[in-house]
């Protein structure tokens, strides 16, 4: 029997894999020591758990274990990477390049940098959600110290040309950072081959626990340093003070090991399931996939259903836990800035749904989701005056709306 509602919001967070919980359990009970306690076995045992996790994580992204700096999550990793580079390299320049479709953790950090006197270029994206390499090249200046472009987008799943971007940054003497939150554990991310100098990522998007993440900071060719944003006991090679979240880190490590072993099979199964969901929903007239269908994560799709209002749609798909491109929490509707950056109109951005699949998503769940969404969209369209006008051939842009 299918359990409702069905969780399809795995870009927001994923459930904990039971195997991850199992690995964490001893560290929540018997092995409670502080990993920084060097004088007794309690500390040693905790440190051993952390060291093992560091190795598991480094194997997933192909780096040295020493290059992993533990944080509270990807938001902190983004903050530490961007602010830390800005402070550390202020003698060399003050210019940072990013993109308009980045996560708020990057965009708001960049706004903070601007308040501190830094200069930030926000690259636009095309209708596929991809930045232009020519525009990136043209934006590079001798003052550019950092290019930070996310690996895979959280709303659309669009994957940027990371290697090419890294090469352009390096050619101009800048560091390359990426927010790998959605990509790590879902597609192969190899910091060496990709040319990544810094990368923020987090455990809870890959079946690990919440509240733990990491910033990868390259140690060789070039040796990258970031100024600590958290002062204290000098943990994590002085870059991030604070007692380590040992059970969280152990879970993060296990999640990375599972991802390394199972990612390829998961991606193959989920992309087929995602494609099936997408193909079925696209049989509805006037429905559109947002973002690139060529360069994207395997487990996500974002679809707009024209002439259906987003919040009404969310209410209609009450058996599914999904995200909408509409933030209708207040009277003033705020359509997704990511979808708007792709060139979507407000109404099309409002009427979008994001489906994020996970390792635990089943064929039955997707079959149910297909029918459920189809029914809701069809019902709402029968109720929609805009759909009726569209069907009668009325051009909605010619109507003078009695706006409020």
């Amino acid at each position: 029997m299918l359990k409702l509602p069905i969780y399809l919001d795995n870009n927001a967070t994923t459930p904990l894999d039971p195997r991850v919980l199992e690995a964490m359990m001893p560290y929540l009970t018997d092995v409670f020591g502080n990993a920084a306690s060097r004088n007794h076995p309690f500390g040693w045992a905790a440190e051993e758990g952390v060291d093992y996790a560091r190795t598991q994580i480094s194997q997933l992204i192909n780096c040295d274990p020493k290059e992993i700096i533990f944080t509270s999550g990807a938001t902190e990793g983004d903050n530490l990477g961007i602010k830390g580079v800005f402070e550390m390299y202020s003698q060399r320049g003050n210019h940072i390049i990013t993109a308009t479709t980045e996560h708020k953790a990057v965009l708001d950090t960049c706004k903070h940098i601007e308040k501190l006197g830094g200069k930030v270029t926000y690259l636009p994206v095309n209708e596929q959600g991809l930045i232009s390499l020519d525009e990136l090249e043209a934006a590079m200046t001798p003052q550019t110290i950092l290019v930070t472009i996310m690996y895979g987008n959280n709303e659309t799943g669009t994957v940027q040309p990371i290697r090419e971007i890294a090469a352009i940054a390096h050619k101009h003497g800048a560091l390359f950072m990426t927010d790998g939150t959605q990509a790590v554990g879902k597609i192969p991310v190899d910091v060496l081959a990709d040319g990544i100098d810094l990368m923020a990522f987090t455990a809870h998007k890959m079946y690990g626990p919440k509240g733990v993440g990491a910033l990868y900071v390259r140690r060789k060719n070039p040796r990258v340093k970031v100024t600590a944003q958290m002062d204290g006991g000098g943990h994590e090679r002085g870059m991030r003070s604070g007692t380590l979240n040992v059970p969280g880190i152990v879970g993060f490590g296990k999640a990375c090991e599972l991802a390394r072993l199972e990612m390829a099979a998961d991606a193959e199964r989920l992309s087929k399931l995602r494609d099936q969901l997408e193909a079925e929903l696209l049989t509805l007239e006037e429905s559109y996939v947002n973002g690139s269908r060529e360069y994207r994560l395997p487990h996500v799709t974002n679809i707009s259903f024209k002439y259906v209002e987003g919040e009404g749609l969310m209410m209609g798909v009450k058996d599914l836990a999904v995200s909408s491109g509409s933030a209708c929490t207040s009277a003033s509707l705020e359509p997704s800035y990511v979808l708007k950056a792709l060139g979507l109109s407000d109404d099309l951005a409002h009427s979008s749904l994001r489906f994020g699949l996970s390792r635990f998503t089943t064929d039955e769940q997707i079959a149910y989701a297909i029918n459920h969404v189809k029914e809701a969209v069809t019902k709402l369209r029968e109720m929609s005056p805009l759909w009726e006008m569209h069907k009668e051939g009325v051009d909605l842009s010619t109507i003078e709306w009695a706006e409020h």
Binding site: G312, W387, E403
Partner: protein, 138 residues
């Protein structure tokens, strides 16, 4: 956001969804809202000229559950009322009946506006002057 049972009921089983023939002299149509604001409501009434009574009411709404419920409820209330009684419907009555939260009051305002616009459309079609509508709640 949690919706009231009445909103959920109207959303799940909307009353009087449909279209009346807007070319008919006895039919008044009100279309309010705008697609980019996330709400468009179309409300239609059919009036018996001899008794000045609303014999039928239909709606179609593009919007959230509260907007759909507000217009569905409005059509229920309109049927059987005289035009003058219909003019007296206040948006706050809709708010109370559906237990709309403050952020959804605009949905009830839209419904009231749609009723008045439909009545005015009917009046103008039948050679009566359009009524001056209060805009105080905007």
């Amino acid at each position: 956001m949690a919706y009231s049972d009445k909103v959920i009921d109207h959303y799940s089983n909307p009353r009087n969804v449909g279209t009346l023939d807007k070319s008919k002299k006895t039919v008044g149509t009100g279309l309010v809202g705008a697609p980019e604001c996330g709400d468009v409501m179309r409300l239609q009434i059919e009036v018996d000229e001899t008794t000045n009574t609303i014999t039928d009411a239909k709606f179609k709404t593009f919007g959230c559950g509260s907007a759909i419920a507000s217009s569905s409820l409005a059509t229920e209330w309109l049927k059987g009322k005289t035009v003058d009684e219909a003019l007296a419907i206040d948006n706050m009555e809709i708010v109370e009946e559906l237990a709309l939260p403050p952020v959804k009051i605009h949905c009830s305002v839209l419904a009231e506006d749609a009723i008045k616009m439909a009545i005015n459309d009917y009046r103008v079609k039948n050679g009566l002057p359009a009524l001056e509508l209060e805009k105080s709640h905007h």
